[in-house]
Amino acid sequence: MSLRTTKQNGEWLDRTKKINFTFEGEAFIAFEGDTISSALWAAGQKVLGRSFKYHRARGVLSLANHDVNILVTDGMDTNMRADIVLVKDGMVLNAVNTVGGVKKDKNSFIDSISPLLPVGFYYKAFHTPRRFFPFWEKVIRKASGLGIVNFDYPRILKRKLHTHCDVLVIGAGPSGLTAALVAAEAGLEVTIVDENQQAGGSLGYNRGGNVATASQLTDLLAKVAGYSNITMITGAYAAGYYPDHLIPIVAANGITKVRAKTVIVASGAFEQPPVFRYNDLPGVMLGSAAQRLIYRYGVKPFNNGVVVTANDYGYRVALDLLVAGTKVVAVVDLRAEASSMAAELTKRGVKVYPGHCVYEALASSDKSGVRGAIICAYDEQKNVAITTKKITLECDGIAMSAGWAPAGALLYQAGTAMQFDYAVQQFVPNRIPDGIFAAGKVNGIFELEQRINDGRRAANEALRYLGLSAPEVVVEKHVGACPSHPYPMVPHDKGKNFVDFDEDIQIKDFVNAAKEGFDNIELMKRFTTVGMGPSQGKHSNMNAIRILAKIRNLPVEKIGTTTSRPFFHPTPIGHLGGRGFHSHRLTSLHQWHADHGAVFTDIGAWKRAAYYLTAGQTKEDAIQTEAMAVRQTAGIIDGSSFGKIEVHGPDAAEFLERFFTGVYTTQKVGSCRYVMLLDESGVIVDDGIASRLADDLFYLSVGTSNAAAVYREMQRSQQMWQLDLGLVNVTGAFGAINIAGPAAREILATLTDLDLSYESFPISSVRESFVAGVEARLIRVAFVSDVGYELHIPMVQVPQVWQALLDAGKKHGVRPFGSDTQRLLRLEMGHAMPGVDTDGLTNPFEIGAEWALKMTKAYFIGQRSLQILAKKPLRKRLVAFVLAENFKGEMPMDCNLVLEGREILGRVTSIGYSKFINRCIGLAFVTPAKTAIGAQFQIRTDNGSSVTATVVKTPFLKN
């Protein structure tokens, strides 16, 4: 039976557009603008979903994005909130939390065994006895969770954008709209956001039967539309508050991070359900939900309704129900004194019961709806029902209006101190951080004129905060009936009086939790799980606080509130991911590498060629082939990712002496020296080569992954030391090629006029010359081979030199090699690499780098710590080791432990098979007792076997 009314003034529907969809296999017709819930309710479908724990039938509760029992799936998305998701043509919808459909959910039996599932059930089940844990884990895992993850979910881009404005107004109700107007009038750029599909807030639906409010809203919105400096965003929620007024606004298509100069929070209040037995039946809904059904969607909430109230708001709801054509059977008011509006209702045939409560709602035979309500007198002092005289009212629905909780999440997140205002029985802002202002219901202002006034006041305060002048606006304190009842709870022997609909928590659960000692709000939250469901306590926290306050016999403000964290509503991971920027650096040879079978690896920010695969080759083959080329003829590697830094100026050598461990003031122009950087505690940070190009110019090359950090530290040191020099980071401007191997010199000689004889260009020297017509810095290094030249050239010219080397080396069989091969080659040379063979605690003594330390210098970073460390016995030391000849067992891996019995002596830092040496070789930390040449130790592999290693001299090549 259709509950659709005639067209309502201001409704959100386009009745000319019909929409067909199915829910649980049944066909439905809706209008454009309907949400899934409003369309189903209009069609008379009352069971819309099942509760999470007891699988109880549930219907409309708030229609304000808190109806978390009404989650549906369209086959692609899951946990769609039917109360706010617009229905679309062709949708095929099903409720998520059921076994066998929402009407005949097989799990609804859980409701009948609910006494077996006491509060804290999870904790208890998991806790003792321990041996039952696996059983309970299986049961609970199956029962818990909502919806089924769609692993075929396509990647749909959700953009994350940044925008800026002067004033961000959160909430487009009367207060927010007024604030936006005032700020816009002052010429400021205003953004106003509201999570509803249309602006207006309660002005759109809280009419109390008076249609004039609709035109009041129309006028207000027309004024707002007249300002080009107001950006209105609806259907999107302000999801959190981050420092300095950054507010992410989540919409269906992505997140906009708004950076505002000032923020006005006019987010309103959530209506809170009174608590009585069976207050969760489909057909029992908040008064504001009934109003939303009527005025937004043209739907009559029920045919024969009872209004249970504890404030004046319920009377307005009753008047609105009359507009919709609902026969209002009675208004049941917890308060002894009825509202002044009672007379009008009585006149229209509505019976008003002051001092009464709904003792319980009566379920229809299949528990799918309401067939009546039992009411009786209510003792407001003791907060109990007086059951001596019960009256049964027949009805098919109950509207509930007992009070409000502020939508203060963002205020809390911003660090607002709230206080409890007894005049409105609500937490209101007391001290708000600078630049944030609250207005309207969230600020404890309820009367419409005063809310508009409060919006003006907040905007004027915001203007003054921004340095503009604006008059003071006085807002009247609340007078008259309190909008919220201090304790709208009706105990019942048989329970099922729900406080939290997400988690099916009843009054007795709080009592029992307190009895077990969980009587602090944070503990109670975790033990009962109140407020931990998808609505995060929006309709339950305030009642929970009130119940706890009563249990502990404390005033409400002494109980406090739980912490509010972003996000305000659940936000999909895809929104958080956004586009996903993965920045990476490429050398100018990247395309060449890719064209020649390179397998790339990420090193720092760089994509480096790890090795080059040809058809039919394995990774291991490729690495060994490349390594053999370097050992037997020559290989070239793209070293463009090395960190490269120029130190210019008269104090350059002095700077290096303070920054690194060695001596540089005496270094000859044209020579190179090793550099090692320590931190203040003496731990190795990085190493590299300093080439002196002139008295006042050093060229540093350091490792790939640490380059940015090394340069940064150099900049910081320069700020402190204020030496006469300049630092230039040329990492991206210069590329580098290393040509290494016995034929390297001969190949290079064909491309340069430089005298490459070992006498005039010995190891550890640097020359500037032309290679293949390109200006280059040539550095004689012995990192991967005794004969090796690093050619440092402008990045864009690297391909030219690379190709020339390949052409010149063709007859020698020169091969490119990658960074994985380089690792093996340097291991064969016995070189330890910072970050690979050292960790965040390794000092130079532990890797045998005493030779690199000039302890007699006046100062270098880490020197003082080394002086202390030098006096202490060494705890570990890096050694070179080999495995047995023809070792065939399970290959140990980097980080495998060196063990003696159960005692850990150290660990492997590098290991690999060298085809050239035909041995498995590696480096490992061991205790000082195991460092002698020939000493043996045991490595435990991943699978637990023990492998014997023998300490040898380096380089391995010469063993």
Partner: protein, 229 residues
């Protein structure tokens, strides 16, 4: 700066724009400008002109650049008759055809626009002067124009780059798509255009990112030939 010569054969040993690895495609036309191979067209002139109206992205990495810094850098610039911006983080034109960006207080980035010759002139100076340090530049450089340029920045950058915040001669060193970059707003043929510089090794990544978003917004890659029109 050399004029663009689209018909000139591409030299095998030419320098290649750092963004080139991300610019493959059958329709791309290449030419050499200032010794660098650069994309002159990605689509027909009509298509590119349409893109430019919405959001055109042009690779101008081939424009000559010159960098220097140090305590005496400003004095050195004056000695070489360069017009320099008087305040940090701003830019000016020198000789009408060369951009001079002041990065912070004591570092300068020069870029010859089409017809400019300042960088070429300075490059020939080899003498090292106390307190002035040459900064070799290997930037990837791009031009963005069209009505949707700010929509693109809204996703890539957390700063407010609207004209009210990014003033006519401002130089902004910030992060775009997670990497360090320099941004200014220029006027080209009476239209506002945005310039972006980043380290050349990030050039391909930056190009990919700019184009991905530009295409989504209804624009796309525009060759240097169209930009010169």
């Amino acid at each position: 700066m050399q004029a663009l010569t689209p018909n000139k054969a591409v030299k095998l040993d030419a320098k290649i724009s750092p963004a080139a690895p991300a610019q493959s495609g059958a329709n791309v036309k290449w030419a050499v400008m200032n010794d660098m191979q650069i994309a002159t067209a990605f689509a027909s002139a009509e298509v590119e002109q349409a893109r430019q109206k919405v959001l055109g992205v042009t690779d101008v990495s081939c424009f000559p650049r010159y960098g220097f810094k140090g305590p005496q850098a400003a004095q050195w610039a004056a000695d070489h008759e360069l017009a320099i911006p008087s305040s940090p983080n701003s830019w000016t034109l020198s000789d009408q055809k060369s951009l001079v960006l002041r990065l912070g207080g004591s570092e300068f980035l020069l870029e010859d626009q089409i017809g400019g010759i300042v960088c070429e002139k300075l490059s020939s100076i080899s003498a090292r002067v106390a307190g002035v340090y040459k900064v070799p530049r290997a930037d990837a450089a791009f031009i963005l124009n069209g009505s949707a340029a700010l929509n693109l920045f809204a996703e890539l950058c957390s700063l407010d780059l609207r004209p009210s915040a990014l003033l006519a001669n401002d130089v902004i060193m910030t992060q775009l798509a997670g990497i360090s970059a320099i941004v200014i707003r220029q006027t080209h043929n009476g239209e506002p255009v945005y310039r972006i510089w980043c380290d050349g090794t990030y050039g391909a990544y930056m190009w990919e990112t700019l184009i991905e978003i530009a295409v989504e917004l209804g624009g796309g890659a525009v060759g240097l030939a169209s930009y010169q029109q």
